[in-house]
Symmetry: C2
Subunit: 430 residues, 2 copies
């Protein structure tokens, strides 16, 4: 349940999609790493807040207690700490596992790919953070997924808002996870959850409401920097200052048109400490009466400066910022689009079929195909001793093989091969 096989057509589409993502990561100078699917159970515990219950655990069959990785960020932090790496730009594309309720039409599975790019190291503020947003912008533009917006916020700003609105620090995280629902439900509902379930005072909730419903650009940042209450809060001031710097860099990258500073963005995970962001597609495809894919967020990430320190015996911190591309949701969209277009993706790359027009020529086919393989040419033949020529040409048409190399008795006698263009039926002897 919640897993799936990828038959050749899907595997080919996925290969195409992943190669676009990998190109972008390599364009930004990232190296690849790989870590095991299995992690020690203790490595994963206490990193995902409420979602820890979604971790797949392995049966105790003796030896270490193991679990399947839940994301690629915690293993990356574990990797950095274990190898004492303090400076690294890496990408990692691999499967992760969550015992979640699958919603396969929305591209939500229990086994799915994550595509992560992260920059670890102590650097001048907001330069790596800006690059992460540039990467999201490049990938979403490159894949032509339609209009999108990248929402940006900062955990320090959110915490500052909570503080100046009179929320006690112990309730920052619950308040945060409630705010995060503002993209799905109206403010009234969020407010009543804050007051009812999370135990905030109605006054605090109302004050929060005035802030978290704001979104804008540089103008909003400037306004909040002048806000009489927020400007008194150290965390908020730091966050807003960095947000201003970020917008400066994004302006130089020429991508502020797609960026929205959105105070309702909170992100679910506990480990974020600074900038957070999330990319959302703005309009769904509605072609040929297809059901539109309800996709929502297609990329997200942020800064997590404390995670690596949790794995270091001396608690040494390595600041990190990273982005995860929601490849499964994008895959669903591309798949539906491909289906709607009626285009058939080739699942193999075969250039030529080696064929014979008469019987008793298997030896000639085997000799020729062997020469082609040795020359690096992608070639197939039918696994029959005496296939009909029509069947062989039909195979080319079914599989999109552009050429047939035909050896008959005449060709053997003349020591030539007849090369046939399957689409045009043109033939040359060579």
């Amino acid at each position: 349940q919640g897993t799936r096989d990828h038959p050749p057509a899907q595997a080919a589409l996925r290969e195409r999609l992943l190669s676009a993502v990998v190109s972008c990561f390599k364009r930004h100078g990232a190296a690849a790493i790989d870590t095991p699917v299995l992690e020690l159970r203790e490595t994963l515990m206490g990193k995902y807040g409420e979602d820890t219950k979604l971790i797949y655990e392995l049966q105790d069959q003796g030896g270490e207690l193991l679990a399947l990785r839940y994301d690629l960020t915690v293993p990356f932090a574990r990797y950095l700490a274990m190898n004492k790496v303090t400076n690294m730009k890496r990408y990692h594309i691999a499967k992760v596992y969550r015992r979640d309720n699958p919603a396969t039409t929305r591209g939500r599975y229990r086994e799915f790919y994550q595509c992560d790019f992260d920059i670890a190291g102590q650097f001048d503020p907001m330069i790596p953070d800006a690059e992460c947003l540039k990467i999201v912008h490049e990938i979403l533009s490159d894949l032509q997924l339609g209009d999108f917006v990248i929402k940006v916020n900062d955990r320090r700003i959110l915490n500052g808002v909570f503080a100046v609105c009179g929320v006690p620090e112990s309730k920052f995280i619950p308040a945060c996870s409630t705010v995060d629902k503002l993209d799905k439900v109206p403010w009234e509902e969020v407010r009543s959850e804050m007051v009812g379930e999370k135990g905030l005072s109605p006054e605090a909730a109302d004050r929060i409401g005035e802030y978290v419903q704001l979104h804008g650009g540089l103008d909003l940042i400037e306004r909040l920097l002048q806000d009489p209450k927020l400007s008194q809060n150290k965390l908020a001031k730091e966050g807003l200052g960095d947000m201003k710097l970020l917008f400066e860099y994004l302006t130089l990258f020429g991508i502020t048109g797609k960026i929205s500073f959105d105070l309702s963005l909170a992100r679910g995970l506990d480990y974020y400490t600074g900038v957070i962001f999330e990319a959302v597609l703005l309009q769904q495809e509605k072609e040929h009466g297809e059901e539109p894919a309800s996709v929502g967020s297609v990329a997200g990430g942020g800064r997590y400066d404390g995670l690596v320190g949790m794995f270091d015996p001396k608690g040494r911190k390595v600041p990190c910022v990273g982005v995860s591309i929601g490849i499964e949701r994008i895959f669903s969209i591309l798949e539906q689009r491909l289906e709607a277009s009626g285009e058939k993706l080739r699942t193999t790359e075969t250039q030529v079929l080696v064929a014979t027009p008469q019987k008793h020529l298997l030896a000639a086919r085997l000799k020729l195909i062997s020469e082609l393989w040795d020359a690096g040419i992608k070639a197939e033949m039918l696994y029959k001793k005496d296939p009909k020529l029509l069947k062989q040409l039909q195979y080319c048409e079914d599989r999109g093989i552009p050429l047939a190399a035909i050896v008959g008795e005449q060709e053997l006698a003349d020591r030539v091969v007849k090369l046939r263009d399957v689409a045009t039926r043109e033939e040359v002897r060579m």
Copy 2:
């Protein structure tokens, strides 16, 4: 235990190795598929004989009982049966899991990659089987691993030998797994295991010994086809007839020089029904006083005509033959060789570093690098506001980045960029 992280240098080497293997699989017209790492426990049970105990099981957290896949062959057979596919040429490169005793210096891990190529379908005899051997030959030649031999045998011939030597059918499989040890221990030991542990009569063991120590080529096949006892056995006769046909095809492929018909080859897995084969490297590298990698088998496979039927409710069979490349062992060899050569593999593909020679030029760097990225050029910059030029050029040398694009005050005024070849220090303004 028995798993490992792949840091960038290893990940880059692995990418190079896998791409050579994938090229070969694509050259032979295979399509990619992907299946989940998780399989239903019942799918895996009863498929691996004694090794079933090595399967990793997931904890029962409610829902289906799951296990981690042990190989890619059983999931492939499950896939074919479930989707009623009766004809397919596919490759699959993915991780598999075995609770084995790890021997990491020999490249044996608990989590490791398998690279499988299989041909499923009802075809004329030995044509797909010959192609599998051609693939092994191509990959091992391509990777320049040194001299190798591909041992070939057939389960029907082995079973025929057991039958004519007086072994009861119930003891074919235990006898088979004992014979399989002949490449590691002398015949005397194998014989005593047969008689002692497996309960064969001394006479039967001696008769078996006369056959299973034989190896050769077409001449041996011809001799056994004339063997007074074997030629009376239906199974053996079929196997020997097909072996002759196989050698005919391999002669046309021009690869019999590396093929040895070896009656001691048995292969561990239960599911083989016909041709079996295994490639072994003949000489180990001994350079610069390095310990030679003790590698043994680097590829193996065979025909398994009954496996798909085990997953079909009506037991419909789909004949299959396939090959698995022992990528981990090959990886160990290449890694040791790379280490010995002192060659440093680049882990990134960055073409140019965007650099500045003076302070206060971060904006110029950000603008230029953004243009480069948008033009598809692989570019990096240091994440510092005012890095020293020397540090920037040093970064290029450390990472093997061939070019630096330098924008200083003069270049900005002249609206040019200074492009510097890091190795030769040549500069052009453009």
